[in-house]
């Protein structure tokens, strides 16, 4: 059993979570009661919250290093407890995985907050952006520090919600709404998988606590107390959840679509943080992977396939944000492979480094022309132009696979969405037949009224 951490350390840990919660609450309440705070006020609140959270996290890190503690748990009590049946506990855990992840989230969010406070200056949706930013930050911190699967799920949901709404940030064009919906749908799918995994775990073990599920040893040690096949099943569900969140095959199409939002949100959320959340989940449940070699093999396979596809698609992208999005995906997939192979420290370092590098690149994306010009001047000539490294025969085929992004989106629409909507339409038709029959003459009159035409009074 771990030594109980000193009380002040626990309180410092609470601050890490409390700071973003307070920011969320403040922005939410201020908006709800009418005229929201001014730009300057919002920026101040964000600064205060992020600095408080970050310094608390750094203090925790420092004291853990000094005290030699490798695991600090902060139980927030059981929120639901039915003896021997069900227990809903909220616990935050500081260990070698969660502390770097939380610090990464806070550092990158702090930077992006400073960046966005100028970049979004005078933007009508300034307050909305920062409200979603606060939710996102809270979600990231909660998910990073989660000590139970329910806590993780809560953070996971917050991240998903704010991400989808940020993709659909621009309300005056249809494309962001369409792509935001796409992201949201994929997220719901992966959320469902995570929820099922949680239910299954509860069913088998009666608890969602990682310590009890994955063994006592501090991360990355630990041994999952699960049979090989339950581990495989639960692991598959978790993998599905991770695949949705990290845009692995077959969900890869959402990642470039997420570039609809303002540049800072694309940078921090899809380039740096939330795209890594799937990999983080796999890191967290590492012991389960160890129990089931077939599961690890599936993880490696999926990672490899995603990496290759992302590399191909990324090589033909002609816009900088999509190119970076696929470059991100390539690395995330490699991280997943590393996790599957059991190199967890390597994966963690890879994850941290990649997030920082990619975010810098994303933030600089609008400077691309400037940078290319500087580069060309330094090199004294045009930048070398890439040709596809394949023979001409194969080039066409590979190029099309790449430019169509592996036909993943088309495939999902045609083979998943379409049968689904067809089934629902069949239900609708059946229902209508019944209501018509019961009503005697046609029902649902409202459907016959055409929608009001939106008239632009330009020509009159």
């Amino acid at each position: 059993m771990h030594q109980p951490a000193p009380q002040w350390l626990i309180w410092t840990g609470v601050v890490v979570v409390a700071a973003p919660s307070a920011l969320c609450l403040a922005l939410g309440v201020a908006t709800a009661i009418g005229r929201g705070p001014s730009e300057r006020m919002i920026v101040r609140w964000v600064q205060a919250a992020v600095i408080a959270g970050l310094s608390a996290a750094l203090v925790v890190l420092a004291s853990m290093l000094l005290l030699g503690t490798r695991h600090v748990a902060i139980p927030m009590g059981d929120w639901v407890a039915i003896p021997r049946h069900y227990q809903f506990a909220v616990t935050f855990v500081f260990d070698r995985l969660s502390v770097p992840m939380a610090i990464l989230s806070l550092v990158l969010s702090a930077t992006i907050g400073a960046f966005a406070s100028r970049y979004l200056h005078r933007e009508p949706g300034f307050r909305r952006f920062f409200a979603l930013y606060a939710i996102f930050l809270l979600g990231m911190v909660v998910a990073s520090l989660a000590g139970t699967i329910e806590t993780l799920f809560a953070g996971w949901e917050l991240v998903g919600l704010s991400s989808a709404l940020l993709v659909a940030y621009f309300l005056d064009r249809p494309a962001p709404a369409r792509n935001g919906l796409w992201v949201w749908t994929v997220y719901r799918f992966s959320d469902a998988a995570l929820l099922l995994a949680a239910v299954a775990l509860h069913h088998i073990r009666g608890t969602g606590d990682f310590v009890r599920l994955l063994g006592e040893g501090p991360w990355p040690a630990g041994e999952a107390d699960l049979g090989a096949w339950p581990a495989f099943g639960i692991g598959l569900l978790m993998l599905l959840a991770a695949a949705g969140k990290s845009a692995l095959i077959p969900f890869s199409g959402w990642l470039p679509r997420a570039m609809e939002g303002p540049t800072p949100s694309s940078a921090v959320f899809y380039g740096a943080l939330s795209v890594h959340l799937g990999a983080f989940l796999l890191l967290r449940i590492g012991p389960i992977l160890e129990v089931s070699p077939p599961l690890a093999a599936v993880v490696v396979g999926l990672g490899l396939a995603s990496a290759v596809l992302a590399y191909l698609a990324g090589s033909v992208q002609t816009d900088i944000k999509s190119a970076l999005a696929y470059a991100s995906l390539t690395q995330v997939s490699i991280i997943v492979v590393e996790i599957g192979l059991g190199f967890r420290y390597l994966a963690l370092v890879h994850l941290l480094g990649h997030a920082c590098l990619r975010m810098l690149q994303f933030l600089r994306a609008p400077t691309l022309l400037h940078d290319y010009h500087t580069l060309e001047n330094a090199l004294g000539g045009r930048l070398p132009r890439g040709r596809s490294p394949w023979t001409t025969r194969a080039a066409g085929r590979i190029y099309r696979l790449a430019i169509e992004q592996g036909h993943l989106d088309g495939g999902l629409v045609e083979y998943v969405v379409r049968p689904f909507t067809r089934a629902l339409e069949w239900c609708d038709r059946t229902e209508r037949r019944w209501t018509d029959f019961l009503d005697g003459n046609g029902s649902r009159e409202s459907e016959r009224v055409p929608p009001s035409p939106v008239s632009i009074d330009e020509h009159s």
């Binding site: 970049y119 200056h121 570039m259 944000k321 990649h354 990619r358």
Partner: protein, 1036 residues
């Protein structure tokens, strides 16, 4: 399947060539409407509606709205706000309306006085309108029938009640024929039984109810108005209107990917296979490929494409087949083709631009690419439409019948309903106090006339009139200020201590003004910022030569900057250092996107957080640190321009570089004569070009010097200075009667309009005593930079109004280096006036950075205005282009402009898209135009009207702009200083409306504390400072 086409029968082949030519011509004609914006790295401002310049401004805007589906004026609400805050004045609104109506202003309108009255009432208060269902609900459930509209004054309301009451009591009492009042009271009205006891509120309710019912009955049986919009010709539009399903949403994603890959100038790692064979063949090769595709329409398309490959169908022939298949006849072909091209106008326009100006891109494309694009697009359209029609409508017939089939199913566009028409009259009657009894007495012909009058003054016309009044206010203020100030300007020194020649750019107006304020013994000039040195220029650190001259000129000369001999070794070392660093960062850039490279780099990526955090939080400090570090490692060498040619023909190599002495003398004479600087030379003459640096800004080039083709004009200034310092050139000049004193030296420079940096070149070559003078001048320029930064900062909300001069300079320096800054500067956002004439006339006039200032001295010109003509030929298109681009991008930023910068995504190195995928966004982003007041450019030329008339007569291009009112032209008589305005081929004298101009002791005293546009003012020492009477009391 319906979308397949058949091979033409042999007898149809006759005359096919002629038909092909006609079709090609038709496509070319349609392509004229495409945006003319080239690659974003060389942004050149141009009139967004350049294609319609043959029409008058008003006609062109009407047509532009129709063809492009964009707004061409501000919103009515915005204009009404301007009316409320006084930016539009009511008397001027009335005046422009009366002028617009001419003799018909006094025509009576039944029930509403004259036509002028009715239209004024329609302008003054908003007319609300909505779908019929909403109106019915509104009238029934809301207080529309209980209380008059909030805009109605209490006097009008009282009169309405009184008149209604008189009418009801007198004429509506029950008589033998029934109870007329019951008809008007309605179900919820006050009880008729106690009509004598009705309160005011009940009378109001009765009056409104009666009005509403009378209006309803009046308009009930009127003929519908002529259909406002013609039916769309594109099948996609017809289908979209009828069902809400969008075929373009299926076609555009793959098409945009393909076009971007085809045009790509080096962003993607791999090039499109078969790019060199042209768009159509690359398209065929890519999409004809067999293989299981998810989307059904793509499978059908692939089958058809394989057939096209087999039959070797040419692109133009394919277009014709598609038109036949879609059932597009000759008569609608032009409209159909232009609508089809405009559906993805940004990309189509870019294909056209890259095709035509192959010299502007690294990877050119073949001519004819636009036709090939059209062929591919039509093929995709057909199959997407076929699938949609099948799925949504169950339509399996040929596509040529699709539009007809949809039109039969859906009811056509409905005209306004009875309620909608009645509601308009109802609202208008309230604000103009037309009482129910007057309307009740109208016969059907009267009603028809009334409704017709209202409907003829639609929203577009209302906004047109508003715009006229909006511009009238501005023109009056500007012309008044010039007329008053020109008679009493600040004194120009007889023997200037130094002279400063800047670009005519509106952003240099304030800089020049501050220099003049700080040094009353200095004189300033303005001319096109390439200083007549048209050249391909390659700096010592540059990889390529870039053209530095207006976009219409193709330079014939090359100029190269070289390190001086002593620094050659240093320079080589520096070069290698830069090269190594460049290669390393290129490796990181590409490597981080590859599989293995990224994996290797990523662990070190944590280091990236250092520059990331530093640059975001401390942009200015980081930039300074980087600069000084760079200087320690690699000190920039001293350089010279290689300006003189030794070979007879100019060329990019060795002896071909540069100009001959004769050519130099020609350039020098042209510039000096245009400036009117032929005597009174000061000891030091500074020539300063300009440019703008910023980060995170794909539109960076749009902030640079327009006269240098969207590049920075420093080298031109430096070249001109070097030319003018050449004694041989001076010898030739003095032979031509233009003697430059031996004591005069010229110095080139470069002004950064974003960071306010001012570099002076080759100061080390000045003689010692000039160098001493230079110290004092440099100090003045440095103070002017601070003041200029300060004046600019008043427009930045994020810069406190309490900033000191030095603080303001630091602020703008940080802006230029800030990755997160979307507004490094305001660009031309305040442009509105173009002044051509002697600075002496406007010296000391606070023009609020709103005027392009071109120097021209009519006393040095011949009576025909030969020099003026040359100046105007250059100034007119450039300044009008800037002004009109800002106009359109600000009236409809989503339609004509590029929208907000925040989601911009650089694509193919040519332009930006919104987010993940969209049409290429042309025009200016919102952050550039949000401050802009969309008014047409006001040209004020110091010359006699007769000279201008002669110049207009000789230059149809200029005349078209003026006659069609794309710009407003006025002349300032050099002797009498009277202003005249140009109107339909003649000038009429302008009479100022005010006699005094406010004044202040310094610019800073005048603008301090104000964020918005300011009034013009006289800046003179000792001037009292009245409170600025701005029309911007309400700060936005």
């Amino acid at each position: 399947m319906s979308a397949t086409s058949t091979t033409p029968a042999p007898d149809a082949l006759e005359g096919e060539n002629r038909m092909d030519d006609e079709l090609a011509e038709s496509i070319e004609h349609a392509a004229h409407l495409l945006p003319q914006q080239g690659p974003i790295t060389v942004f050149i401002h141009h009139n967004t509606l350049h294609a319609l310049e043959d029409l008058t401004f008003d006609q062109a805007l009407r047509r532009g709205a129709e063809v492009f589906g964009c707004r061409t004026y501000l919103d009515e609400d915005r204009y009404r706000d301007e009316l409320i805050r006084g930016r539009i004045r009511f008397d001027e609104l009335r005046e422009v309306l009366a002028e617009d109506l001419g003799a018909s202003a006094d025509d009576p309108v039944p029930g509403f006085g004259t036509r002028l009255d009715l239209r004024l009432a329609m302008l003054q208060d908003p007319l609300r309108i909505g779908p019929t269902e909403e109106l019915v609900w509104y009238v029934a459930e809301y207080d529309a029938l209980r209380r008059t509209r909030p805009e109605v004054s209490s006097a009008t309301r009282a009169r309405l009640i009184a008149e209604t009451r008189r009418w009801a009591m007198r004429d509506l009492r029950p008589n033998g024929h029934g109870d007329p009042i019951a008809r008007l009271i309605g179900p919820n009205g006050p009880p008729a039984a106690r009509i004598e006891d009705w309160s005011d509120a009940e009378w109001e309710q009765f009056a409104l109810g009666a009005l509403w019912r009378i209006c309803g009955e009046g308009v009930r049986n009127l003929p519908p108005p002529p259909a406002p919009t013609p039916m769309p010709v594109r099948h996609r539009d017809v289908l979209f209107q009828a069902t809400g399903h969008d075929a373009d949403a299926m076609v555009h994603p793959p098409l945009i990917r393909l076009v971007a890959a085809f045009l790509d100038q080096g962003l993607a790692a791999w090039t499109l296979p078969g790019r060199d064979q042209g768009f159509f063949s690359a398209f065929l090769a890519l999409y004809a490929r067999p293989g299981r595709l998810p989307d059904p329409w793509r499978r059908d398309l692939a089958i058809e494409l394989r057939r096209l490959i087999r039959d070797r169908v040419e692109p133009l022939e394919s277009v014709q087949r598609s038109l036949d298949d879609l059932g597009v006849g000759r008569d609608e072909r032009d409209a159909f083709l232009s609508a089809t091209l405009l559906a993805l106008r940004g990309w189509a326009g870019m294909i056209q631009q890259v095709e035509e100006r192959s010299d502007r891109v690294v990877h050119p494309i073949a001519p004819g690419s636009l036709v090939e694009f059209l062929a591919a697009r039509l093929l995709m359209d057909r199959f997407a439409l076929a699938q949609l029609a099948r799925e949504i409508l169950g339509y399996e017939g040929p596509l040529s019948g699709l539009r007809e089939a949809i039109r039969q199913r859906a009811s056509g566009p409905r005209g306004p309903s009875v309620e909608q028409r009645a509601f308009l009259v109802f609202q208008l009657a309230q604000v103009s106090g037309a009482s129910p009894d007057v309307l009740d007495r109208l016969n059907p012909a009267g009603w028809a006339q009334l409704v017709d009058e209202i409907e003829r003054f639609g929203s577009l016309d209302r906004r047109r009139v508003f715009q006229l009044a909006y511009e009238r206010r501005f023109q009056t203020r500007a012309l008044d200020a010039i007329a008053i100030h020109a008679k009493d300007p600040a004194p120009t020194p007889e023997h200037p201590r130094f002279q400063l020649i800047c670009c005519l750019d509106d952003r240099e107006e304030s800089f020049r003004r501050h220099v003049e304020e700080l040094a009353p013994d200095a004189e300033t000039f303005g001319t096109a910022g390439f200083f007549s040195v048209a050249m391909y220029y390659r700096g010592a650190d540059d990889a390529h030569a870039v053209p530095l001259c207006p976009a219409v000129i193709r330079p014939r000369h090359w100029v190269v900057e070289r390190p001086i001999d002593e620094d050659a070794g240093e320079s080589r070392r520096r070069h290698w250092g830069r090269r190594l660093l460049g290669m390393a960062s290129h490796q990181i850039h590409t490597g981080s996107r590859s599989l293995a490279g990224g994996a290797l780099l990523a662990p070190m990526g944590v280091l990236a957080s250092i520059p990331l955090v530093a640059r975001t939080l401390f942009p200015r400090l980081t930039a300074r640190l980087r600069q000084s570090l760079g200087r320690i490692v690699l000190d920039p060498p001293r350089t010279r321009l290689q300006l003189e040619r030794t070979t007879p023909e100019p060329g990019p190599e060795d002896g071909g570089i540069g100009f001959t002495v004769d050519e130099m003398a020609e350039i020098a004479e042209k510039v000096l004569r245009e400036l009117g600087l032929t005597d009174r030379f000061a000891r030091l003459v500074l020539i300063v070009g300009h440019g703008s640096s910023s980060l995170n800004n794909p539109h960076e080039s749009a902030y640079d010097c327009g006269a240098c083709g969207g590049s920075r004009g420093g080298p031109n200034a430096r070249a001109l200075a070097q030319i003018l310092n050449d004694l041989r050139v001076r010898g030739l000049l003095s032979d031509r009667g233009l003697a430059i004193p031996i004591t005069t030296r010229f110095v080139g420079g470069m002004h950064n309009t974003s960071s306010e940096e001012l570099i002076l070149f080759d100061v080390d070559r000045l003689p010692a005593d000039h160098r001493e003078d230079m110290v004092g001048i440099r100090a003045i320029l440095d103070r002017a930079r601070e003041r200029n930064a300060h004046e600019r900062c008043r427009r930045f909300l994020s810069a406190p109004l309490t900033l000191s001069f030095a603080g303001a300079l630091q602020h703008v320096e940080a802006r230029a280096e800030d990755l997160g800054q979307a507004r490094p500067e305001c660009g031309h956002a305040t442009n509105a006036i173009i002044l051509v004439g002697r600075r002496a006339r406007t010296r000391g006039l606070f023009l609020d950075r709103r005027a392009f200032l071109t120097s021209y001295d009519p006393s040095h010109d011949d009576p025909l205005g030969t020099i003026l003509e040359r100046i105007l030929m250059a100034v007119f298109p450039v300044c009008a282009g800037i002004n009109l681009e800002y106009y359109f991008s600000s009236v409809d930023n989503t339609g004509w402009g590029a929208g907000t910068k925040l989601p911009h995504n650089i694509t193919a190195m040519l332009g930006v898209m919104d987010g993940y995928q969209s049409d290429l966004r042309t025009g200016l982003p919102w952050q550039m135009v949000e401050l802009h007041e969309p008014v047409r450019a006001l040209f004020v030329i110091e010359t006699r009207p007769v000279v201008l008339l002669r110049i207009l007569g000789r230059n149809p291009g200029l005349r078209r702009l003026c006659d069609n009112r794309w710009v407003v032209l006025a002349s300032l008589d050099p002797e009498t200083l009277e202003l005249s305005t140009y109107r339909q081929e003649s000038f009429e004298p302008y009479r100022p409306r005010s006699g005094v101009l406010p004044g202040a002791p310094s610019s800073a005293d005048w603008y301090r504390g104000w964020r918005d546009h300011l009034e013009f003012a006289t800046i003179r020492d000792g001037q009292a400072r009245p409170r600025p009477n701005t029309d911007s009391i309400v700060s936005r």
